[in-house]
Symmetry: C2
Subunit: 436 residues, 2 copies
Amino acid sequence: MNFILLSGGSGKRLWPLSNDVRSKQFIKIFKNEDGIYESMVQRVYRQINASAPNSNITIATSKTQVSSIKNQLGNNVDICIEPCRRDTFPAIALAAMYLHDVKGISENDTVAVCPVDPYVEKEYFSTICELQNEAKNNSADLMLMGIEPTHPSEKYGYIIPETSDKISTVKEFKEKPDVQNAEKYISDGALWNCGVFIFKLGYIVKKAHEIIDFTDYYDLFDKYDTLEKISFDYAVVEKETNIKVMRFSGYWNDLGTWDSLTDEIPENIIGKAVLNENCENTYVINELNIPVLCMGMKNTIVSASAEGILVSEKEQSGSIKSYVDGIEQGVMFAEKSWGSYTVIDAQDESMTIKVTLNAGHSMNYHSHECRDEVWTIISGKGRTVVDGMEESVKPGDVITMEAGCRHTIFADTELQLIEVQLGREISVHDKQIFEL
Amino acid sequence: MNFILLSGGSGKRLWPLSNDVRSKQFIKIFKNEDGIYESMVQRVYRQINASAPNSNITIATSKTQVSSIKNQLGNNVDICIEPCRRDTFPAIALAAMYLHDVKGISENDTVAVCPVDPYVEKEYFSTICELQNEAKNNSADLMLMGIEPTHPSEKYGYIIPETSDKISTVKEFKEKPDVQNAEKYISDGALWNCGVFIFKLGYIVKKAHEIIDFTDYYDLFDKYDTLEKISFDYAVVEKETNIKVMRFSGYWNDLGTWDSLTDEIPENIIGKAVLNENCENTYVINELNIPVLCMGMKNTIVSASAEGILVSEKEQSGSIKSYVDGIEQGVMFAEKSWGSYTVIDAQDESMTIKVTLNAGHSMNYHSHECRDEVWTIISGKGRTVVDGMEESVKPGDVITMEAGCRHTIFADTELQLIEVQLGREISVHDKQIFEL
């Protein structure tokens, strides 16, 4: 079996824990069975591996997420990188061609496309496995999963099946409705469209060639930026006649807002915080190293990170996006394939950053045109290479690098350093990468 | 005229803006007439200088506040330092002896003792000047100011005057009552005791010698730690028969809690913050360099500093102290006579600090036994002295100092640096000071 996990999303709706480089699926706020915090992408990846061992999992995503994915799932994870954002149809077509041309998957093999961020129980993935078996047995060209609605939501598209059987042909699709129409659809037996699509690989290879003029994966990759932005629902699903839906009545939550997210968090506090006894239905998720004290708060979400601090009445947290759009701020933290960094001080002509390298990892060998840098090692052991010269480093060692100087650091153990950047125009884009 | 300003107080009730080294009177949250933020101590100092030009102002305080006072009022401010905390009677006695023996003030001169932190209009200080004139003319040995109560508060002691005249002899003192008794006192014409005492210097010199066995200021200073902790009200005021009170009906607020403090702040936002349109009666005071976003909050105070983040329903903010007592945290920011510092990262064996030196100032020449330090200059110009060697420094320069090495820095212009401290036992007490 094959899974394509679509990992998209912006960092606005779960600000300040998500930002331009960390989408919501990378926030570590769920506990796994060992009591260790994991992110949505780690949870879904673990659940698929448990439900369908030995299946191929490919993550379709943009360049900006590659570091976070490798940081959280390891360097061996299979990633199909979209050169730019082009909505779900081009993304699924590219990932399908990647399976076909790069991984050599047979056209007769089945593929399930899933969003990377639903909060579900393991039955969700066993249902997707069932659907792959149905597709394998030619039950229909395209199979969907439909979630049994719990309320007349305006946030989802609706699928209206012909019958109330577990698997039914699809009668009709409905766009996101108002509450009144949603109620009507639900009384007609409608299901929520949760973005899960199952087909044989050959089906989507054929569709891709019908809709886009290209030869193979490499050609499609090269012309990706010329493709029309179009959703898979619009380009394929709503035009398909040989289509079935399987209903799923298990637990499903799409965690799009702070309000829905806090429904799934097992504790009221993650990170350093104190709630006094007069707090009710209040959640603190604090990634800073300083404490939060809440007194007498009700139905409130408090979240703090290096990006900022959110204090929101729970229900209003859904409308956060437009306010966050108005906040001008550079990226203050990021996960990289080699570790992570946090901005701890930002001035006009300097920026101070705390860098953590995971054991056995190293940065790219790189230089900056417009800034000098100073590293002070604060923990761990490793080796720096500066303009070709390698040296061992330990806590207290200081490395100064002028603009133009090529540099990297290897972490032999987990290693932390304080980096002071100095220059008139400090930008993440000022970076030239070299072979070492 | 002489003023003794009592500057005491702990940093718990206005946490996180106050801490163990910054009492509430040093928080800059009021705007002066030029629109510049000033602290309570700056406001009171400015108001006295305006109401009674050419008077002597002496600040009676502990060692821990000296740096903050010099930072905010300048190096020429007159400070009488208490060697340790011994309540208001010893503090006032020491300050009186300081005026008498060090400053050479005549025993016939009048002195007003005032708390440093009431939020008042300038009429308050003209009333104190009137009281000093009354004392000069021998109206009574001891004169008090009594605030006309606005509500039956349980937070203050009450003074019951004989008559309702502007100046009256005192009939009786009452300890902090419950609301019911407070109502009764108020119907009897009682006033709040606001801790303002006026007398001729000779009066208190005599009282001090009656109660304490000492010769002069220097002797009293030396035996200060052996003195009994006793309040001026208990030791002197309640035993005095020749005592009068002047009523004050102008504006007075003691700003003891976040709730009362926010009543005096002209804007809902100080620092970086956004309130959405559904917020009501909500205040953000943010000293961090990251934004706060509030959505739909009502009657709420949000305050953030390097110490932590408070989110409190307004009325409950009064009971903050016991919760703050439970938070274990080193001092994360401080004002020094030469500038200020903020902890920006704290690890087990390292601490990273941002230091700002004001132009023309320098640190003490000092060393540490148990930690190495690295300075990276990020702005400004100055000179370092390291083990006797002076060198000019500019942004990008790095200075490494091993444990034991003596060092200081002079700021020729305002100068900022990032200091990384490295060692097993990092403590503010690990500091040896040398003559340069």
